[in-house]
Subunit: 225 residues, 2 copies
DNA sequence: CACTCTGGTTATAGCCTCTAACAAACACAA
DNA sequence: TTGTGTTTGTTAGAGGCTATAACCAGAGTG
């Protein structure tokens, strides 16, 4: 509807770019992003080396594009869950979406949340997607966070440091805190799981993930320890 | 005392290996592990390319060595904290040690906990170090975990899946759960912080870290939400 | 002293990224 | 239809990397 390519040349160009990215994802799945080779992709597509530089200025541009697509895909998954027919998903729903998305393609997850490349700075339009993502999370968190109990010290810090939550100027600090907690705790479990740090330990990461989700939403009543 | 090199040849060999690793760390700090170049290191040391292959069979062996050293260093930090003169450090102490160690050299942290290299499997002696680490954590967690409250579902799972906690056969499931929680939650915050995902958000990662530490040790009483 | 083992050297193969120079094909207007 | 500029492909090549091979000098050792 929007970006429908005008000229057939543009059209073809887009097709090739897409095919390149497709092969790129395959390569990444096989040998990781650092081993991605424009040359190999070109050969795979039956064209010779430098041809690809007509489509991507350099390796970095391709990778940036992949990162953008990855972010976009995650954001879309969140948005779809949020505005899907079946009522609001709630934090548990978002958590499920997040894990599903991550397991679907771990390398894609690490492209976003893995080891940063020194010197790399995401272009502005990518960070925009990530704030889009955060907006959905904040929306859900303001709905989930009950009317303020007495704020803990970090809540008080957040009350004064909420630039990142500009999309929800009325969300209480406890909601911001909840969003950060959701993000960091689930990332903690997921990234350890996907990196294989649980393999051989004999525990079921899915259950651990669920346990964390439960405790994000309803912190233990004082019974425990 | 132990590994004191016998022959002066061995001695020299070790010196060179150490110098190589040193330059390697510098390179990693500058351009990340994936950009590490044996060639460049060799030149930096005034010798020509292939010479280094007398000391390391290949790039992978060097990196493995760096990973080993990284693990060793973290484990030693934990052990030192645990058996240091000033009484047991407790979970908060370990958390402080962990963060200090991570900030000291983020690339070293990511060498252990960052994006995994597809196909790479850590040799057995490295995983041994990581269980050493886990042992210190478990020790502290059994001391910290109060006598069992009623176990949550994941506790029950852990009761049957505790191979990884072989060092502490008598630790209650709640202690194992606590250890996992410590590990994954703090990794969550740290890895987001070190990867720069908090930059520009305007919040203080150190405070968030502290907040998480607090909630690991004393989950919110039912007041909150 | 001779002999071996070690640590260095150059040469080379085979990857890679990326630039330059050139050729064919296409789009389109006169 | 013919001419012209743009796009997309080609090969050649510079310069980087890993890694192997072949060779040579010096250190230890019988």
């Amino acid at each position: 509807m929007t970006g429908t390519t005008r000229t057939p040349r543009e059209r073809y160009r887009q097709q090739v770019r897409e095919e390149v990215k497709e092969k790129a994802w395959q390569q990444i799945a096989g040998s990781g992003a650092s081993a991605l080779s424009l040359n190999a992709i070109a050969k795979q597509m039956g064209m010779s080396g430098p041809a690809l530089y007509r489509y991507f200025a350099n390796r970095d541009e391709l990778i940036t594009e992949l990162i953008r697509d990855a972010y976009r895909s995650l954001a879309d998954a969140f948005i779809a869950a949020d505005s899907g027919g079946a009522g609001r998903p709630g934090l548990a729903g978002l958590a499920r979406v997040l894990r599903g998305w991550a397991l679907e393609d771990p390398h894609r997850y690490f492209l976003i949340y893995g080891t940063p490349v020194p010197g790399y700075h995401a272009p502005q339009d990518i960070t925009a997607i990530s704030t889009e993502l955060m907006a959905v999370l904040l929306e859900t968190c303001t709905a989930a966070a009950g009317p303020a109990a007495e704020p803990d010290p970090f809540d008080r810090h957040l009350a004064d440091h909420r630039e990142w939550a500009a999309s929800h100027p009325d969300a209480p600090p406890s909601a911001l805190h909840l969003a950060l907690t959701f993000w960091s705790r689930l990332h903690g479990v997921l990234s350890l799981e996907l990196a294989g740090h649980f393999t051989g330990m004999g525990l079921d990461p899915a259950l651990f993930y669920e346990a964390e989700v439960d405790r994000i939403m309803t912190p233990d009543p004082l019974t425990a320890r």
